[in-house]
């Protein structure tokens, strides 16, 4: 997840390094303890770093943004008009930006999401319905509708699966629409 953590990362590194130094000093008190002490330093150092990462995630939660973007093969005025004509906007309160693509051949759409929206709730993550996942799917759907007039689907096609097997497959493929870098 490309979330900007740079300031907290620095403080986290300092914290982990301090623990490492302190433990290493203790280990040097007795030569017979050196090897075991060094191993303990490694383990605790990793644990300290992990704790620092968790702390900084908690501290920064809600303050960073992630951008989901897609390029649509139509001029910005047409893309903007089509975007505004949609109903039931799943992007909610997210900030949306339209920009001509390099070369003027298309339009770039960027949706900025807070990390609350990216992470979603536990339930929405399980269902594959975090705001982030809904935005990604909406961007794909929008691009396809503008470029070729429809969003191609496989839902309802013949298979040799039972309805239960098909439900599992559907759950997997639903997520295969929403994951990815879009």
């Amino acid at each position: 997840m490309p979330v900007n953590l740079a300031p907290a990362e620095r403080s986290g590194d300092v914290s982990a390094t301090s623990q490492w130094v302190a433990l290493r000093h203790e280990a040097q008190q007795g030569r017979s303890m050196r090897r075991n002490g060094t191993a303990a330093v490694g383990v605790l150092g990793v644990a300290g770093t992990a704790a620092a990462v968790l702390r900084r995630r908690k501290a920064d939660h809600g303050t960073n943004t992630t951008t989901r973007a897609i390029t649509v093969g139509a001029p910005p005025d047409q893309v903007r008009a089509a975007w505004d004509a949609r109903t039931g906007d799943p992007t909610g309160s997210a900030q949306v930006e339209f920009r001509p693509a390099v070369g003027g051949r298309a339009t770039e759409i960027r949706v900025r999401l807070s990390d609350d929206q990216v992470d979603g709730t536990g339930g929405s993550r399980l269902r594959g319905e975090t705001p982030d996942q809904r935005v990604r799917e909406e961007l794909r759907r929008f691009k396809s509708e503008v470029e070729c007039g429809e969003v191609v689907t496989t839902e309802g096609q013949p298979t040799g699966r039972s309805s239960r097997q098909e439900a599992v497959t559907r759950a997997i493929t639903d997520r295969m629409r929403a994951w990815g870098p879009a």
Binding site: S144, V152, T159, R161, T173, R175, R177, W179
Partner: protein, 389 residues
Amino acid sequence: MKALTWQGVNDLAIEDVDEPRLLNDQDAILRVRATATCGSDLHLIDGYIPGMRAGDVLGHEFLGEVVETGPGVERLSVGERVVVCSVVACGRCRFCREGLFSLCDNGNPHPAAAEAMWGYAPAGIFAYSHITGGYAGSHAEYVRVPFADQGCFPVPDGLDDDSAVYASDAVPTGWMGADNADIRAGDVVAVWGAGGVGQMAARAALLMGAERVVVIDRFAERLDQVESVIGAEPLDYTAVDVYEALLEMTAGRGPDRCIEAVGMEAHDHGAQYAYDRVKQALRLHTERGVSLRQAIRCCGKGGTVSVLGVFGGFLDKMPIGAAMNKGLTLRLGQQHGHRYIPMLLERMAAGDISTAHLTTHPLPLTDAVRGYEMFKDKEDGCVRAVFHP
């Protein structure tokens, strides 16, 4: 209706499934008249392409008659006999407009797994795992074709079903391999693989002006076809050292253009092949790349290696040093069939490209499980089994 479904690794079955219906406005429903086995299906059957689900209907190379069209279909009419490109492409995104149909942005309804594996998702492909869209395939009585105006091509009168079916995949794939190889008049071309795609690549190379084309394989019946139908020179890799043979044939220069039409389950003999088999069986890598490595090693300085064989994941011992230091050009890709099929159907109808000989085993769809066994094991000289529902 009856359909051939994938049930698991090396496990196929004929099942009763629902008939397809129109799901998008630009869909058409076809009654399948001919649907071919393809070497790339074996990668699915053998379990080397991820993303298959039990119950998936197989088949991506087919021809049929239009029985129903959606309200967004403008160019097709009911009753028309059409061959369908195995790639599903919208025809209107940036890549389609540039003729790169297998890279279509909108043809794959489930692109996320491909994006995770490959960075970006290519187009959809009929019945080629859920990574390329999870579309139901053509080994059935009826098939649904999305973006039907884009992917269906009317078949000229006089071209029979068992010949025209290869305009769906083998012929355009082979043509693209030769096109990507940038063949010039007087070139010596080596093709690895004498299956349908390799033979079509060899024929395309000759039509593009290559002076000599040699096709490498181990099956006598396929090598016979290379000589008698395609007009190229056969080379049996079990009888000669391929590198030495090509060196002698070109008086030390090596082939100017090499076309790899084998892919991730290449066969050979010797230590390198054993190494590949063990690593693939243990899933430590996904590709057996002996043909690709050999093509890179054998290719002459400044030459082109064009890769048509299907690769899906990770290849070990890639001879990047040979490619770099000989200044080779590597070209790869799934077929951009929409770009070539109309022209190729004309050439097939005119007799420039023969394909009827590939259908060594025409069978009813109900015999499709047996047909795939024969095709996989090359029993009874099977080059392609083609099913007629």
